[in-house]
């Protein structure tokens, strides 16, 4: 019965999707020709816009609206800028802001660099070895974030005993084996070490994505340009930086921008490991705690609004880039 019900959901879901378009198209065809041409584009984008309106536009409007309010009991009252000022005055929030900036500076660049490195190096291998290497790097993407936190728990775990035998975490086992004392890695924030370690988890998990895309881009570089450069006597490094990179710039920028946007919104890596404690907090996590633990919805919405405002410059850059591409076509 369960199987039947699951199958039905899939079939109904997909079938309904197709049916909607078919119906829309029929409606358009019923109209006189001139009107049909004018109306059709809007019908085509209608379902998409419906989805966006409900799930993105409407919540955004509510969020902005409510960020100026506070819920006392079951009622909402207007409090002007109070949520914002309280947040900006709170040192914890400012720390979260700073940490988020740190993540933004470090992670996207490293993700792209590592992905490109793996893509380029793997490209030189024979197909089977190449597939193997790429599958290994891609593997963490198949693991959910909760699973990833369990995986990395065994790298960062801490046990007070100085005896290497008692250590359960890989890093501490190595450290104590060479005579050091165990370190509580995730609680150590000197030079933001714990944040960096969390970034490692995200990198491990996401480089597969950039690798896949950049690998395709690298493979798309015309062989003749490479051979021409080689004939001219260029070294590998020169070929890479002066022939390959310029030709994949579009993909590089896009991968970078998409990773950047998602890092700005990041929260689950922090949420499942430290919960933002020990100076690892980031904006996304601050929102979650404000929403789910403090139940201070107004303030949580203010946090998100600030996050969205911060992402806007990135969006402007991406739009400009897109317009440039458009002009090049």
């Amino acid at each position: 019965m369960k199987l039947l019900s699951a199958l039905l959901y899939v079939v109904v879901g997909i079938g309904a999707g197709v049916a909607v378009y078919w119906i829309l198209n029929k409606i358009a065809e019923l109209l006189p020709n001139k009107a049909e041409e004018r109306v059709k584009p809007f019908l085509y984008i209608l379902p998409a816009y419906l989805a966006i309106s409900i799930y993105l536009i409407y919540p955004t409007i509510v969020t902005v609206f409510r960020s100026f309010q506070h819920q006392a009991g079951a009622e909402w009252q207007s409090v002007g800028l109070r949520n914002y000022t309280e947040l900006l005055q709170s040192s914890d929030f400012r720390d979260a802001l700073f940490n988020t900036v740190l993540w933004i500076i470090i992670v996207p660049a490293l993700t792209v660099a590592l992905g490109l490195a793996v893509a380029t190096l793997a490209d030189r291998l024979r197909p089977t070895s190449e597939n193997l290497a790429k599958t290994v790097i891609f593997l963490p993407m198949a693991v959910s974030m909760v699973g990833a936190s369990t995986v990395w728990k065994f790298v960062y775990a801490y046990n007070a005993s100085p005896d290497s035998k008692d250590q359960v975490g890989l890093l501490n086992a190595v450290k104590t084996a060479v005579g050091g004392d165990p370190t509580p890695w995730l609680q150590n924030d000197t030079f933001h070490l714990n944040s960096l370690l969390l970034m490692v988890i995200l990198l491990w998990s996401q480089v597969g994505y950039s690798m896949v895309l950049l690998s395709a881009a690298v493979k798309g570089v015309p062989v003749d340009t490479l051979e021409a450069a080689r004939i001219d006597g260029a070294s590998d490094r020169q070929i890479f930086f002066q022939v390959v990179v310029p030709q994949i710039k579009g993909t590089l920028v896009t991968v970078f921008v998409t990773v950047l946007i998602s890092v700005m919104k990041i929260f689950d890596v922090v949420y499942v490991t430290t919960g933002g404690q020990f100076n690892t907090n980031v904006i996304g996590n601050a929102f979650f705690k404000m929403f789910n633990t403090n139940f201070d919805y107004g303030k949580s919405y203010a946090i998100v609004v600030m996050l969205m405002i911060a992402i806007i410059p990135v969006m402007i850059f991406q739009v400009r880039h897109f317009k440039q591409e458009e002009a090049n076509l």
Partner: protein
């Protein structure tokens, strides 16, 4: 073209029909069938299995089916589910603060007249306070856990000939004695990933309960008495004396915040013991905390006594927690089930096979699986009052927020106690 048209039409029609049949099949989450009662809880699997067994047996006679779901983050999820109009019939809530929130949203029904008075009378005194709002009972404690228990490694303890202390002063002396005998007295660990710091709140609550008694404790929980008060500072000073003094805790003060709470007590069982005393809740005797070989013969390996009162023979409330059943649907069937849940014998199947402890003083203690659970339960039954975990009663911003983080900051030495307490007070939500 005509064929594909017909094909598409058929597809669309079948989609609509299928949707209708799906709706008829009732593919839903919360009991669409009026003879099924849905229960959500976050209790451990063996506890749930035991309670469910007993409940199903009772409900059978009435022809009621039970659909019991394990829900891990029920405290946060229940609020979201209220907004989505997708709530169970009964929810086991481990935090009184959340019970209050549910009541304030008008989604819980009062239990007055629903459960037999005799069942309520057999509860440990004080149990019904935490689940009551404005004098009416909404949250009924079904499964309890006892906190403020001190565990010790039995064999090493007996060999050294230590005595169970009967007052806090005696506990201080015992600590010193253990230390001078060459063993580190205490094992303490408050590490818990995102929730790091909560065991420290349990420590403080126990001390506040012992020093302040029921009234002093309740006033503090309701914020009539602030964190920066003398009562709290007295408790903090005692904690500092017992645990933060140099050489009093295994691994040193600097390791407390990073040692995982669940396995923090395990050095007790080393030979020679890494420590002698471990303050934790009764859940610690379940699987996954003490080593398996210790649990196999737990009564020979582990002993327990209740955290002593401030003065010998004086007021001795015990701190504890548990899961309170909240009625979110007032149909006749659900009311019957609530009444069954309130009976003393509902725990008869859960007790022998899990860490379940009954909050009823007339529970058949021979059903507990081992001496240590029995003793832990007895601590509660012998106490003068059962005080629900304070941080679980406070608003989330404090109880699951600053109380945890400020305690951690104090213990790691990043902050002094006065700053930490002041910060907690400042974070108390104003509305």
């Amino acid at each position: 073209m005509k064929r594909s048209l017909r094909g598409r039409f058929a597809l669309g029609l079948s989609a609509v029909l299928a949707a209708a049949s799906l709706a008829a099949c009732g593919g839903g989450g919360s009991g669409s069938d009026s003879n099924t009662v849905t229960i959500w809880s976050s209790v451990d699997a063996p506890v749930q299995a035991g309670l469910e067994k007993a409940l199903v047996a009772k409900a059978k006679a009435d022809g009621i089916k039970i659909n019991w779901q394990s829900v891990k983050d029920i405290n946060t999820l229940i609020m979201t589910k209220i907004a989505a109009n997708d709530t169970p019939d009964i929810a086991f809530i481990p935090q009184p603060g959340v019970v209050k929130d549910i009541v304030s949203r008008g989604k819980a029904f009062s239990l007055d007249g629903v459960v037999d008075q005799a069942n309520l009378d057999s509860l440990i005194p004080g149990v019904t306070d935490a689940g009551s709002v404005d004098g009416k009972l909404y949250g009924l404690l079904v499964s309890a856990n006892v906190k403020g228990l001190v565990f010790y490694p039995k064999q090493a303890w007996d060999k050294a000939g230590y005595q169970v202390p009967d007052s806090i002063d005696a506990l201080n002396s015992l600590t010193d004695q253990i230390k001078s005998d060459g063993t580190t007295p205490w094992c303490v660990g408050i590490g818990s990933d995102a929730a790091t710091g909560w065991p420290a709140t349990d420590w403080l609550e126990t001390l506040i309960a012992k020093y302040g008694g029921t009234q002093g404790y309740n006033d503090w929980v309701s914020h009539k008495t602030p964190f920066s008060s003398d009562l709290v500072k007295q408790a903090a000073a005692e904690f500092s004396k017992l645990v933060l003094t140099d050489g009093n805790v295994y691994g040193g003060r600097s390791s407390i915040a990073s040692t995982a709470f669940g396995t923090a007590g395990n050095p007790m069982f080393k030979n020679p013991p890494g420590c002698m005393l471990f303050n934790q809740g009764s859940f610690i005797t379940g699987a996954g905390f003490f080593p398996d070989n210790i649990i196999k013969n737990i009564d020979q390996n582990v002993g327990v006594f209740g955290f002593p009162p401030a003065t010998a023979g004086g007021d001795n409330p015990v701190e504890g927690g548990g899961d309170m059943a909240v009625m979110m649907n007032d149909s006749a069937n659900v009311k019957k089930i609530m009444n069954y849940l309130s009976a003393t014998d509902i725990g008869n199947d859960a007790a022998p096979t899990s860490s379940f402890i009954s909050p009823h003083t007339d529970f058949d203690t021979s059903l507990y699986p081992n001496e240590i659970t029995k003793n832990a339960a007895q601590v509660a039954y012998d106490s003068t009052a059962f005080l629900f975990d304070g941080s679980d009663q406070m608003p989330g911003a404090v109880g699951a927020g600053t109380f945890w983080t400020e305690m951690t900051n104090w213990i790691t030495g990043d902050e002094d106690i006065n700053t930490a307490l002041q910060k907690i007070d400042d974070s108390w939500p104003s509305s």
